[in-house]
Symmetry: C2
DNA sequence: TTGACAAACGGAGATGTCTCCGCTTAAATA
DNA sequence: TATTTAAGCGGAGACATCTCCGTTTGTCAA
């Protein structure tokens, strides 16, 4: 089941649907050529031969546009995650969490630009909180489930940390700013980041 | 010792120094009246009766301006932290870390707007990484020291997590986006966030 | 005091995001 | 098919960040 659909309530008018395609095609082309960061909404509108107003009617900002472009890949990611979770349902939860993190980090590496585009705060002002991004909601839910399972499976040594909070912090560490900070400034390789995350969030007793 | 000074190498020309004061005064007034978020660099320039070029010559962006405005308060914070650390040097490190976090979170609550302004990504494009902000470097250093001390004081049960990494993740959780997410979306009170951070990063055995 | 010059000024304008609103048009309805 | 109407279009323009560069001015050395 696709979790990232944003199905329009009513079917689009024919011209609107065509414009949507023109936009996606133009964006894809420009992103490919100049990189997501270096392409402005204006450029996309020009390339698609439509007015800026039309562009913004379809996509409220570049983040939404990126989300649309990455949707299929995201669906694949979540399919992969579901498969992994099913195939490994007998593994201990900490192992599954690690696998889950690995899948996401791999995805992050492959789709770095678009995914960063999705996370972009859009306009400096009215930025919506993380919580509104379905991608991260979905991931967060999985983290919470696994963390709860881990907490339950281990002898409760101290008041169990709130899994929702812990998952939030973990998510933050996977977000663009944090992740690329680790990569580019600290110089950690992806696998190293994964290791450190596990050590940080799941210290073995 | 002040750690947040950005002392100009050469003394400013008299007119430049005066303009700097006009800018700070104007910014303070406007921030007070409309809130940091809702004040543009243009407004500040107008209020200070200078051109935009002059404003940008003094402060490359709003973040730097906020940093200047909050400097004195930050110095007080770090003085307070130093005092606290000295007075509690015999407490166990985890206790000191908790105290440190509490001091910072209190500061964050009191100076929310300006501190958020400091953290602002400035322009969506060329945002400099966290690592360039002296405030966070300073804090990060303290965290690393304490985490190292904690790791050393406890029986090494498993490969010790890299304190630098752990401190990075902890910092992320204290940053504007994450902190206000916890406050506004999750509805946690500051003291609750503190508790959760401790539980997450310093699980008792 | 005066002349030279680096520093500072300021505003026009490049570029970007995003909205508003009068006109156009696809498509549901009679 | 003709009519209606809401969805869609597109560009002007409000506002924001930030730069460039010709002009002005403080400062220092002579």
């Amino acid at each position: 089941m696709s979790k990232t659909d944003i199905t329009p309530v009513r079917t689009e008018r024919r011209d609107a649907a065509e414009n949507r395609q023109r936009i996606l095609k133009a964006a894809h082309k420009l992103f490919e050529e100049f990189g997501v960061e270096n392409v402005s909404m204006n450029q996309i509108a020009t390339e698609a031969e439509i007015g800026p107003g039309t562009l913004y009617r379809r996509f409220r900002n570049k983040s939404e546009l990126c989300q649309e472009l990455i949707k299929d890949h995201l669906d694949l990611l979540f399919d992969g995650i579901e498969t992994y979770m099913n195939e490994n349902r007998d593994e201990p939860p900490r192992e599954r969490l690690k696998g889950l993190l690995r899948l996401f980090i791999r995805f992050r590496e492959m789709k770095a630009q678009l995914l960063s585009g999705v996370e972009e705060s859009a306009s400096p002002a009215r930025k919506r909180p993380l919580s509104q991004n379905p991608v991260y909601n979905e991931l967060h839910k999985l983290f919470v489930e696994l963390l709860d399972e881990i907490a339950a499976s281990e002898p409760s040594r101290s008041p169990a940390p709130n899994s929702v909070f812990k998952a939030d912090v973990l998510m933050m560490a996977l977000l663009r700013d944090s992740y690329h900070f680790q990569r580019d400034v600290r110089g950690y390789a992806p696998e190293m980041i994964l290791e450190q995350l596990i050590l940080t969030f799941l210290p073995e007793e």
